[in-house]
Amino acid sequence: MNLYEFCYGIIHWLVDLVNNLWYWLGDVLPWVFGDFFDAVGDFAASDSNIAFFTILTEVLIIVIIALINVLNFIWLDRKFMGRMFDFYGPYYVGYRIGGWLQNLADGIKLFVKEIITPAKADRVGFLLAPVIFISSSFLALATIPLGRDFGIATNESGAGVPAGVLVAFAMFAIAPFSILIAGWSSNNKYTLIGGMRSAAQMMSYEIPMLLTVASVLLLAGSFSFSGVVDAQHDLWFAIPLFLGFIVFMVCLMAEVEIQPFDLPEAEAELVEGWTTEYCGMRFGLFMMTSYLRGYIGGALATALFLGGWHGPELIPDPIWFLIKAYTVFVIVEWTRWSLPRVRVDQILDIGWKRLMPLAVLNLFIAVAFKTMGWF
């Protein structure tokens, strides 16, 4: 049973339940709106309506799972940083579960804060930038299946979004645009510099990243996540394409702007980078979305290089996927809190002079494997 059928069953059952009551009401009051009751009931039970609400339920389930993962990631990040820097991390709120509730407390605090728009800010861009950033990140999330039968993309025939990998990366590619808009429209030097740095960094690290993705797609011979994961049934792509895996992870860290590459929000130079002027829940959403991008990145690395949901049958598919994604995230955190920040003049050098040739070499290796007929 896949996610679509599961949601379809729930929605069908609910509609039947409500419709029985509804038709009974129509029978009791036939002299007023008898036909009206019948028409509404038939519309609610029609195929297209049920399909619409099924997809809505699927979206809800996926988003709730992703947000719970984001909360876990923020907690894990802070605890892990505390462990590495020799302090406790979040501790008091939710004492018995290791301070896990601290994130919820922070979220509530951000919700009740006043939202200030700077007087000289460009209002259209200032309001639009978070919307574009957040919605594009959630669209990237929508394409990633947690298991063969567990994703928004799975419909009744089990097929996914056509070219799901490409959709995910295309949605990732929208972010620099919104960041530039956010940095410019805040009308502040720090945000403008942060936005410029961020966009330059993201654009230049996207190219080696896409080259490694191209090598994976070449070996798998498919654009969809299920095709890529099924091609890794015997051997994870991280082993033949080890070089590509390393390049992908470095580019991923630059894409989601975490520590060695967090120049756009370097606290010592730029106050808070391109989010300086945002406050209240707008900043909260930006921060949540950056962790969500971390989750998406971990999920992409899992699906493209670490065999996705394949594993011993003892544990169900989505749990395997999440275990791998969490492992990737912990490794990323480990490097994040161990390394110093890259200098601003080194960042484009690393992208164009080091990672780019390695990515091209990796693509050649993939082509060689393919022409040898080993995959």
């Binding site: 490409l166 295309a170 590619a173 645009f177 808009i181 966009a199």
Partner: protein, 87 residues
């Protein structure tokens, strides 16, 4: 009127209106935002024509690269020049 026609009309209207805004808005960054909206609407139209690959590449190349390059170009030029031209 089917839903498909309705969605098509909405997308076509948003593409046309944003294309008009590109040439008519006074703030030049606003016209870049409108340009991105126009590209995204066109990508959605490609999806409706069941040409998903073209739509994805449209978003990749146009929204991901061309718009950002144009934004860089605008932001690296001096703003006073544009301000004085407007008056």
């Amino acid at each position: 009127m089917t839903w498909e026609l309705f969605v098509f009309l909405f997308l076509a209207a948003s593409a046309l209106v944003s294309a008009l805004l590109v040439v008519s808005s006074r703030e030049i960054v606003h016209s870049v935002i409108a340009l991105a909206t126009c590209f995204i609407a066109v990508a959605c139209l490609f999806v409706m024509l069941s040409a998903e690959f073209v739509a994805i590449i449209q978003i990749f190349v146009y929204v991901g690269a061309v718009v950002v390059v144009i934004l860089f170009g605008i932001m690296l030029t001096k703003r006073e020049i544009m301000e004085s031209e407007r008056r």
